[in-house]
Amino acid sequence: MKCNFIIYRFDPAVDKESRYQEYTVEAEPTDKILDCLNKIRWEQDPTLAYRYSCAHGICGSDALVINSRVELACQKLVRDFKTGNNFVIEPLPFFNVIKDLVVDLKPFFDKHRSVRPYLISDQKPPEKERLQDSQDQEFFEPALRCILCASCTSSCPITRTNPDYVGPAALLRAFRYIFDSRDTATDDRLEKIDSQDGVWGCKTMWWCTDVCPKGIPITKCLGQIKRVLKKNKAAR
C-alpha cells in the first residue's frame, strides 16, 4: 500500500532554513518506519540523512519524532499508526540539527558523563566475584534497559526550559549506580544531584516514562532517588 511521508530536511551547506519534503513509499503494514526511510533513501533520494544501525531497538541510534511523538524508527511499524498511512518525520527536539534527521548529541553525552557513570568502589575486589543479593540487582535492573537513545531527555519539558538540568537519562544512570550495592560513592553521588539542576529538576511530569521505547519507569526511578535524599535529610 502507498504511504505518504513528510520529512524534515535541512542541509547546512544549502538550506538557510529547514523545510519539509514529501515522499510516497510502497510499504507493508508490518514494515518498520525505518524500512520506509531506507526505501526512500535507496530507491528515491540517497541524500536523506538519519542514523540507524541494529534496526531492532537495542543500539539506540534512531530515535525520531514520528507523527509528533518521540519513537524509535526501528521499533514502530506502519500498522502501529492510525493516521491513514500518513507520516510526518522530524528530528529529536531540543538538540541542534546537524543535517536532516541527525542531531548533535554531544550535550546529551556530556550530561551522561557528569554523573560519573561507572562503578566507584573503595573496596579491593575479591579474587572471584563480589557477592550481590539478587534482589539488590533486581531493584536497579530497569535502568539497565536504557539504550541511550535520548528520547526521554529530548522530550522532557524541564530540559527544554532549563538547559543546565542534567535530564532523565543521566539521572537514570545515577540511579543505577546509587542503588548498586557494590558502589561505595553513594553519598557523594546523592550530594552531586541534590539540586534543581539535578534530581529536583524533575517535576514528575512523566513525559520521559511515556516516551521511553524500552518501557523503563524513569520517573519512578528518579522518585526513588528523591525519597532517599528526603530520608537522609530527615535523619540529620
Binding site: 542541509d11 547546512p12 551547506a13 544549502v14 508490518t30 518498520k32 533513501r41 535507496w42 530507491e43 533520494d45 540517497p46 541524500t47 536523506l48 540523512a49 538519519y50 542514523r51 540507524y52 544501525s53 541494529c54 534496526a55 531492532h56 531497538g57 537495542i58 543500539c59 539506540g60 541510534s61 521499533q75 511499524l77 546537524i98 543535517k99 536532516d100 541527525v102 548529541l105 558523563r113 560519573r116 557513570p117 561507572y118 562503578l119 575486589p125 579474587e127 572471584k128 566475584e129 563480589r130 557477592l131 550481590q132 543479593d133 539478587s134 540487582q137 533486581e138 536497579f140 535492573e141 539497565l144 534497559r145 539504550i147 541511550l148 543505577r176 548498586d180 557494590r182 558502589d183 518501557g215
Partner: protein, 574 residues
C-alpha cells in the same frame, strides 16, 4: 587534519574497548568508530558469556575447551581454544569487578544457564555455563566498558569511517579516516592499528546483524595484503524471527524453550537425542531446513515454531524480557501464550583476518606477523570457533583476545618507533572520495547491494552445492563490474550516507567473493559449511584452514594446518 597516537583502534565494540582499556594504562590510544561507541553491534548480544565458573553445577575449563573444539568440528586451533577456556573465569570476574550487573544466584554468586553445545563430562549432558544479564548481556558489558573508557578519558573519534590502512614496507603505520559530520579527511599516524570492526552479516539477505556489520576491517586488511582465514564458515543462527531475521537468543532454549514442526513434534529429539534443542547452531539450523524441506514447516512455509509458553511468566519476564518484546513488536506474538515463528538467520562470521592468540595479524602459513597490524573480535580469526561457533563464546572471544591484543600492543609500542610513510595516503584517499563523488555511472548502490544479498542467501547459505555457488561467484564478479559504474546522488560533505553506503558495498563485494571461493574450494561438509555434493567431513584433505590472499591477479587460496593438542578429531554427534 593529522593526529598521532601510539595505537589506533578501529571499532568500538567489546574487543576494541577492552583493548583500549588495556593500552590506555601505559600508552596513547584513540578509538575510531563509524557509529557512536554505544551503538556498536556487541550491544545486540543477548544470551550470555561462557565460563566454567561452576556456580550452578560442576564444570571445568577442560570441558569448555572440549565443547568448543567439538563445536568447531575440530577446525578450531586447540592452543587458542585452551587459552580462551582457561582465561574465561578470570574474564568474568574482571567484568564483575568493573561493574557489569550479572544476574545472581540465591547465594549472590553470578548466575549461569545452559546454552547450545555446552556440556559436562565431555558431552554427557547440558551444563549451565553461560553468565548473563537477563537477555541483554552484550549491551550491559558494552555500556560498562564504554563507561570505563569515559572514566579513563579514552580519546574517541565517533562517526569516523576508515578509508585505508597506511601500509609501507610491509608495515602498518596508521590510517586515513573520513569524518562523517564534516567530510574532512584525517590522517592518524600510529605504531599500531588494531582492527576490531566486527562481522559482515549484511552480505546476506536475512541477518540478525546491524546495518553497520559490513566487514570493513576485514576488507581493509585484505586489500592491504593480509590473508582472510576460513571465510566460508558463516554461522546461521537457527532462531531468527520469521522474515525479519531479528535474533531470538539461544537462551530461550537454554531456559527450556523447544522447537516444534507443523505436527507439534519436538523434532530435535530425532536429530540430537542427548542434548536435543541445545545442539549447536549449525546442526539446529540444518535440522530446521530439513523439516521445511520435508514439508513439516508451519503451514508448509519455510519456518518452524519456538515454543516458550510452558516456561511461565516469571522466567520470561526476568530472563527473556528483551526477546519476548521483539516477538511482540515485530511478529505480533505474545510469547507467553503462543509460539514464535522462527527460521535461520545469518549471524556470525567464524572466519576473519588471520591472527594469533596475541592479536598479531599473520601473513602466511608459518604465522609471520604483519608489522604494526593487529585484529581482535569477530573480524579476526584466531581461530577459536573453527567451522562453527558455540553460543556465548563470541563475547568471551572479544574480551579474552581484546585484552591479550591490548597487552601485546602495549609491549609493541614500547619497542617500536613511529614510522612516517613516504607515500601521501591522504591524497590517495581524497582521490578515491572525489572519484566516487564525480562518477557519472547509471548503477544504483541499493540495487547492487540487494542483488548481492539475494544471491548469497539463495546460493551460499545453509545448504551449498557446486553449481549454484559457481553461479553466485559469477554474479558477484558481475556486481563488482557494475560497482565500477555507480554514481552518488549526495555530493555533500555533511553526513553523506550515500558515500558510506558505497564504501561499505565495496567492502562487502570483496568479502562475498572470498566467502564463495572458500566455499567452492572446501569440497567437504564441516560445521556451518554443508556441501550437499560432499556431505561428509573429509579430514584427510580438508582438516586445514582456508586462507585467501588478495593479489594483483585476483584472490589466491592457500592453506594452514590446524593445531591439534588434546582432542583428536572424532565423529561429531550430540
Amino acid at each position: 587534519m593529522e593526529h598521532q597516537f601510539d595505537a589506533v583502534i578501529i571499532g568500538s565494540g567489546l574487543a576494541g574497548l577492552r583493548a583500549a582499556i588495556e593500552i590506555g594504562e601505559n600508552a596513547s590510544v584513540a578509538v575510531l568508530s563509524k557509529v557512536f561507541a554505544t551503538r556498536s553491534h556487541s550491544g545486540a548480544a543477548q544470551g550470555g558469556i561462557g565460563a566454567a565458573l561452576a556456580n550452578e553445577e560442576e564444570d571445568s575449563w577442560e570441558w569448555h575447551m572440549f565443547d568448543t573444539v567439538k563445536g568447531s568440528d575440530y577446525l578450531g586451533d586447540q592452543d587458542a581454544i585452551e587459552t580462551m577456556a582457561k582465561d574465561a573465569p578470570r574474564t568474568i570476574f574482571e567484568l564483575e569487578h568493573l561493574g557489569v550487573p550479572f544476574n545472581r544466584t540465591s547465594e549472590g554468586k553470578i548466575a549461569q544457564r545452559a546454552f547450545g553445545g555446552h556440556t559436562s563430562g565431555f558431552g554427557k549432558a547440558p551444563v549451565k555455563r553461560a553468565c548473563f544479564a537477563a537477555d541483554r548481556t552484550g549491551r550491559v558489558i558494552l555500556d560498562t566498558l564504554w563507561e570505563q573508557c569515559l572514566q579513563r578519558n579514552t580519546k574517541f573519534f565517533d562517526e569516523f569511517q576508515v578509508l585505508s590502512l597506511m601500509v609501507e614496507d610491509r608495515r602498518c603505520c596508521g590510517v586515513v579516516a573520513y569524518e562523517l559530520a564534516t567530510g574532512e579527511l584525517h590522517t592518524f599516524y600510529s605504531k599500531v592499528v588494531l582492527l576490531a570492526t566486527g562481522g559482515a552479516g549484511k552480505i546476506f539477505k536475512t541477518t540478525s546483524n546491524a546495518f553497520a556489520s559490513t566487514g570493513d576491517g576485514m576488507a581493509l586488511a585484505y586489500r592491504a595484503g593480509a590473508p582472510l582465514e576460513d571465510m566460508e564458515f558463516v554461522q546461521f543462527h537457527p532462531t531468527g524471527i520469521y522474515k525479519l531475521g531479528i535474533l531470538i537468543s539461544e537462551a530461550a532454549r537454554g531456559e527450556g524453550g523447544i522447537l516444534l514442526n507443523k505436527d507439534g513434534e519436538r523434532f530435535m529429539e530425532r536429530y540430537a537425542p542427548v542434548i536435543k534443542d541445545l545442539a549447536p547452531r549449525d546442526m539446529v539450523s540444518r535440522c530446521i531446513m530439513e523439516e521445511v524441506r520435508a514439508g513439516r514447516g508451519i503451514d508448509g512455509q519455510d519456518y518452524v515454531h519456538l515454543d516458550l509458553t510452558h516456561l511461565g511468566e516469571d522466567v520470561i519476564n526476568s530472563k527473556l524480557a528483551e526477546i519476548t518484546g521483539f516477538a511482540r513488536t515485530y511478529a505480533g506474538v505474545d510469547a507467553n501464550k503462543e509460539p514464535i515463528p522462527v527460521q535461520p538467520t545469518c549471524h556470525y562470521m567464524m572466519g576473519g583476518i588471520a591472527s594469533d592468540v596475541d592479536g598479531r595479524v599473520v601473513v602466511d602459513s608459518s604465522n609471520t606477523p604483519f608489522e604494526g597490524l593487529f585484529a581482535a573480535g569477530e573480524c579476526a580469526c584466531v581461530s577459536v570457533h573453527g567451522a562453527n561457533r558455540l553460543g556465548c563464546n563470541s563475547l568471551l572471544d572479544t574480551l579474552v583476545f581484546g585484552r591479550r591484543s591490548g597487552m601485546e600492543i602495549s609491549r609493541y609500542v614500547q619497542r617500536n618507533d613511529f614510522q612516517k610513510p613516504a607515500t601521501d595516503f591522504e591524497k590517495a584517499a581524497a582521490a578515491k572520495i572525489s572519484g566516487l563523488m564525480t562518477a557519472k555511472g547509471e548503477e544504483r548502490i541499493g540495487d547492487i547491494m540487494a542483488d548481492m544479498q539475494e544471491v548469497m542467501m539463495d546460493n551460499v547459505s545453509v545448504f551449498r552445492t557446486e553449481s549454484p555457488m559457481k553461479e553466485a561467484l559469477g554474479k558477484i564478479m558481475e556486481l563488482k563490474g557494475r560497482y565500477q559504474h555507480i554514481s552518488l546522488q549526495d555530493k555533500g560533505s555533511c553526513f553523506n550516507r550515500d558515500l558510506l553506503d558505497a564504501l561499505e558495498l565495496g567492502h562487502m563485494l570483496d568479502l562475498a567473493e572470498v566467502i564463495a571461493m572458500g566455499a567452492l574450494f572446501r569440497q567437504e561438509s564441516r560445521g556451518a559449511h554443508f556441501r550437499e555434493d560432499f556431505p561428509e567431513r573429509n579430514d584427510d584433505d580438508f582438516l586445514v584452514h582456508t586462507l585467501v590472499r588478495h593479489t594483483d591477479k585476483g584472490p589466491q587460496i592457500f592453506n594452514k594446518p590446524v593445531t591439534i593438542t588434546r582432542f583428536q578429531p572424532q565423529e561429531r554427534k550430540y
